[in-house]
Symmetry: C2
Subunit: 360 residues, 2 copies
């Protein structure tokens, strides 16, 4: 069996331990004689597994009781519609435009109401987070929306906008569970599982109780109502059971590791190894302003497309997979999610040094 | 490792061979050094896997080129909204009410237009399929909708209504790939994967090309447009890759078995073993009129709630799992999907005979 260092932006590397356990339990989960894939979502075993996953997540993020956890389908992209459909009462929202995923949420929001883009970093190819001091929020905005970590551009909100009593909505698809957060600062947090948490096909929503309401926009499908999923404990219809099961194992793995404080330390250490080298290197450089750098997604370039291509090719041959950057940034991107071992980043930097020495 | 005979209505039994392969490949899929769960949906490997799954499905069902295959999220329940949102042009549809899932599609349809219920078997607790001869279709109906196999009530459309040139829409969640069908009789077929095909979290849609249009109802979320998923080869956003991978393995398993003609024979043999015994038994009897019986879901009762409960309990102790019927029918239900081995049905009938002898 071969394993590589997988720097994919998502779906992405998972803890090897989690995969091993899943493989072992594939035909017989906890002595039931069935696979998790084969069991009714109404069975005690699966209900128990789902509740335990939610409880572990609650502990990890220190989620207060008046915030509810939903395991849904449709990916993060479906949230771009669910959010306005459920939360727009005045049909107005304030958005910050910090990258491609922020932009997709803006265009989807426009299907349902007026979207005010109150700040943007598009002018510099999203290489920074806009100044949050002088934001002009709209009186009648139902919420303020941010993409907390910009997967493609490698920026992160290291501070939050001061939204007063407006609900702050955050797409945390690419930095969910990478460090502790204060959940009470948000009205709603969502994350596609396929980066830091599990396989594609599960999206996790953490929503403040008072935002779960019956009065959604006309024409909202039953499956797109938060209230329906909340009232049915995420099992209104058949949930993506196997994906939730893997997420649950990742939560246990995080708890065993020491929780999110411990995870944050490791992530900072990993990121520092890479950023320090990028700052010191004459060949490679990061594309993001220092203060707004992501802990998870690290885009970098050599300045020469040819050299970038050569690097990506040779890195792949050496067992460093999926380092090609997104086309709108170019160059390389190393996604160093929770499950990327520190050794993977050390080895990558060693490889980069060698490459630099050989190609200067 | 223990394995039981699992008669769950869904999520349901999968071929043991498929689960074994998935377990073996969990950490290293085809020498990539990554799990299928860890790989980008934009990678050659995953694109190839998804295309192969679609191609195998096309072969199995003999799907003509002008029908398109989509792998989506949201379960069958999300189709209850997607169908009207995408296919209603006049905002009128004709529905046949043959059970709980048929009814759910009706109520969801009413969010979007006028639903004419042109036939119903509600009067006899859905124990039969209504007469299809004198159906009065609505001139302006955009489509005619049926639930092809009624999971809860154990009925199946063994003939189809003659809908002329209206598109016939069929929910085949619980009998998909159980036997050959003539795809050209339908405008759209959909099936939640979690019964006959794979894990929960994937829904398969087969749709006639001309029904994939841009002019959907106002307010339709991007993720709920068939055209968006078709234009992006089911990868507009991150698809439920692992679920599709398991479906793909089930398709290969079916092909190896000899395809759907062979599968049908086996399913008929299995069903006959059970139905013949139900007809002969003095204690147990099926709840569905003979001509409308499902090959997949077999509800039966003893006539005594106490005896039903005793049977379910003893059957469970003997390794026959999930035989409890749905509350609206009561008694028992044996779901004998493709992956249920013939031996499982034989053993169940032996057990029923023994129980009958001991309890008369
Ligand atoms: C920040 C962010 N939001 C949303 C998405 C879209 O996720 P999905 O593919 O699950 O719809 C992504 C995917 O990469 C992402 O990185
Ligand atoms: C015939 C039929 N349609 C629809 C559904 C709903 O499927 P899902 O849970 O995937 O939404 C089911 C589930 O049992 C079903 O049997
Ligand atoms: Mg981005
Ligand atoms: Mg540098
Ligand atoms: Mg039914
Ligand atoms: Mg009888």
């Amino acid at each position: 069996m071969k394993r590589v260092y997988n720097f994919s932006a998502g779906p992405a590397v998972l803890p090897e331990e989690v995969l091993r356990e899943a493989a072992e339990e594939m035909l017989d989960y906890q002595g039931t004689g069935m696979s998790v894939m084969e069991m009714s979502h109404r069975s005690k075993t699966i209900e128990g597994m789902m509740n335990e996953a939610a409880q572990d997540l609650r502990e990890l993020l220190n989620i207060p009781e008046h915030y509810k956890i939903l395991f849904l389908q449709g990916g993060a992209s479906q949230q771009f519609a669910m959010i306005p459909m459920n939360l727009m009462k005045n049909r107005v929202a304030d958005h910050l435009n910090t990258g491609q995923w922020a932009k997709k949420a803006i265009s989807e929001g426009k299907l349902y109401g007026k979207i005010n883009v109150i700040a943007s970093s598009e002018d510099q190819n999203y290489s920074y987070i806009p100044d949050l001091k002088d934001l002009k929020f709209s009186e009648d905005a139902d919420y303020v929306y941010i993409c907390h970590n910009n997967t493609i551009f490698g920026t992160k909100f290291n501070k939050l906008p001061d939204v007063g009593d407006k609900p702050l909505i955050a797409d945390m698809s690419s930095n969910f569970l990478s460090e502790p957060i204060d959940v009470t600062k948000y009205g709603l947090i969502f994350a596609g599982a396929q980066k830091n948490v599990g396989p594609a096909g599960v999206v996790i929503v953490i929503i403040r109780e008072d935002l779960i309401t019956e009065d959604v926009l006309p024409g909202t499908p039953t499956m797109l109502k938060y209230k329906v999923h909340f009232d049915n404990n995420s099992a209104y219809n058949t949930p993506p059971v196997y994906g939730i099961y893997i997420c649950g194992k990742v939560f246990k793995w995080l708890k065993k590791l020491g929780g999110l404080e411990a995870m944050k330390k490791i992530n900072e250490e990993k990121a520092a190894i890479l950023y320090d080298y990028l700052d010191a290197s004459d060949m490679f450089k990061g594309t993001v302003v220092k203060k707004d750098r992501s802990l998870m997604n690290v885009p970098f370039v050599t300045g020469s497309e040819e050299l970038d291509a050569k690097f990506i090719k040779e890195a792949k041959a050496a067992g460093f997979e999926n380092l090609k950057g997104y086309r709108t940034v170019g160059g390389m991107r190393a996604s160093i999610y929770n499950a990327m071992p520190i050794q993977g980043v050390k080895d990558l930097v060693e490889f980069m040094k060698k490459f630099e020495a050989e190609n200067k």
